[in-house]
Symmetry: C2
């Protein structure tokens, strides 16, 4: 099975206490694709401007990412600039230039319409809904969103939430979306609104995967040096959905647990460096090694 992601490809400028990167390759679709491609073929549906550096296109192409859905529009590429505080838990957006992304109306070609596994990255819920209208029979739709849309487009978000299979939010977003401070209650409310699975990301504390009849808590891979958390969530999505798209039984609880760990593993490479520098170098061997490490870290005891 192949995976299609609809999202952004961007130029990010990021400053952290450990250094900075200027106009580096970023965007939800880029992180997602470079993670998911370890498991299945991936197609990106996104837009860049005429100024988008060829080397970035080359990096994605070299990793086997299908770019037939990456449109080049007249104008400048979407740019984001942000700065992280000392403990990397607080982020300030310094600048957002939508540029060509402002007029992005995702139009899926024949191949993308046939997508069985679809990641709707963090864009306007109205656009996410438009994409769903173009894909007749997805097997699994993974939906990301953020506070911005929860506040500004709740109705549109609700419409797309009903049609998503898996929702991916962080703990704050889960609370804001459901008006429940208890995460267990928040997750149950999300499941009651449609999706079968709610994945709640908790940064350095790992993630919680809430299914209709199970709960799974995945710890993160332990790192002494975290350089830049940008893109970790989208990378998680790539590992998660990529693994499931390659599975013979993607709705099996065991597979979903493994998928969440693969998501966590891929994200651990992303945060080790700026942009996709470390992620793009990760090998399947390294990935599987970290998977086994996390399994060991989480092990209470061999189940009876």
């Amino acid at each position: 099975m192949s995976v299609t992601v609809v999202g952004s490809v961007a130029l990010d400028s990021v400053r952290t206490p450990f250094g900075e990167a200027t106009e580096a390759l970023g965007g939800s679709a880029a992180y997602f694709a470079v993670a998911a491609r370890h498991f299945v073929p991936v197609s990106i549906v996104a837009v860049v401007g005429e100024d988008f550096p060829e080397e970035h296109v080359q990096l994605l192409r070299d990793r086997g990412v299908d770019l037939s859905g990456l449109e080049t529009a007249r104008g400048r590429t979407f740019r984001w600039a942000g700065e992280y505080g000392y403990d990397l838990n607080t982020r300030e957006t310094l600048r957002t230039e939508l540029n060509v992304f402002a007029d992005f109306k995702p139009k899926l070609g024949e191949a993308h319409r046939a997508a069985r596994f679809l990641f709707l990255a963090n864009i306007h819920p109205e656009l996410q809904h438009d994409v769903l209208e173009q894909v007749p029979k997805p097997e699994m739709v993974l939906l990301d969103t953020m506070n911005y849309w929860i506040e500004r487009a709740p109705k549109e978000l609700d419409k797309v939430l009903r049609r998503a299979d898996v929702v991916l939010v962080n703990d704050e977003e889960a609370r804001q979306l459901t008006k429940e401070s208890n995460l267990l209650k928040a997750a149950r409310k999300i499941l009651a609104s449609g999706p079968s699975i709610a994945v709640i990301k908790k940064g350095e504390h790992g993630c919680l995967v809430h299914g209709r009849d199970f709960l799974f808590a995945a710890p993160v891979f332990p790192l002494e040096d975290i350089v830049d958390p940008t893109g970790a969530g989208d990378t998680f999505a790539g590992g998660f959905l990529g693994y499931l798209a390659a599975s013979e039984d993607p709705w099996d609880e065991k597979e979903i647990r493994r998928a969440a760990v693969y998501g966590t593993v891929l994200a651990s490479f992303t945060v080790e460096s700026f942009s996709l520098r470390r992620l793009s170098l990760a090998t399947r061997e390294e990935i599987d090694h970290r998977f086994r490490e996390i399994r060991r870290i989480a092990e209470v005891e061999a189940a009876l």
Copy 2:
């Protein structure tokens, strides 16, 4: 093996968004003992005042806690009053009345000196050190502390830290103690200063158990309604050390993992109600049920 705890027995007044309790049974030694007694005999070394209600003594006695080391001094019992914010993650101390606790100089009797498993609850590190001087050959010393002592008595704390086997701190305290914002680095620094194990509590995110050659991440037991987090850390300590004191091989990594889960399980009862109301009613059957639930929540897959 039996366990001895040196700490406080107090009257707590707590207000949370879900209700309040006035002059209820509290104190680190009380929570610890009522948790640990599920596994082994427990002795409390602490002091109360003449006003300490007989019903509280009875509650502890009914649960088989040895109170031969609970001194009744002239004066009033130690009182603490606090209030929790909306999400229960922020706590404000409204009042601390040390009363008889101000002159507490733990003196261990013959039986307590023979203690093989010792919990040094959160008191002045100088007193913790005095206790260690009185116990010739402990098998395992579990040490708790807090920001207050990290700031005000760093030298004394360092002295007792060197002689502790297991250190129990929350994530903030670990960072403050080691001046490392990364928890993995913080834990390694703690281990480098003497202890074999550093347990880092992360509230609703569970805990990390760092050994010299392993790392274990335990999730919490999921609860929809958390009423009052007071005492959760001491209850964790009771489940943890109690389980290990009953073990034939308390230094075995597998046993330490199980002990951390039992600690988490016991703490889950404490937070369900004010004071020791829910904890004191927990049955071994309920405890083992929650243990199995957490094992299920943490399970990545059966190890190969």
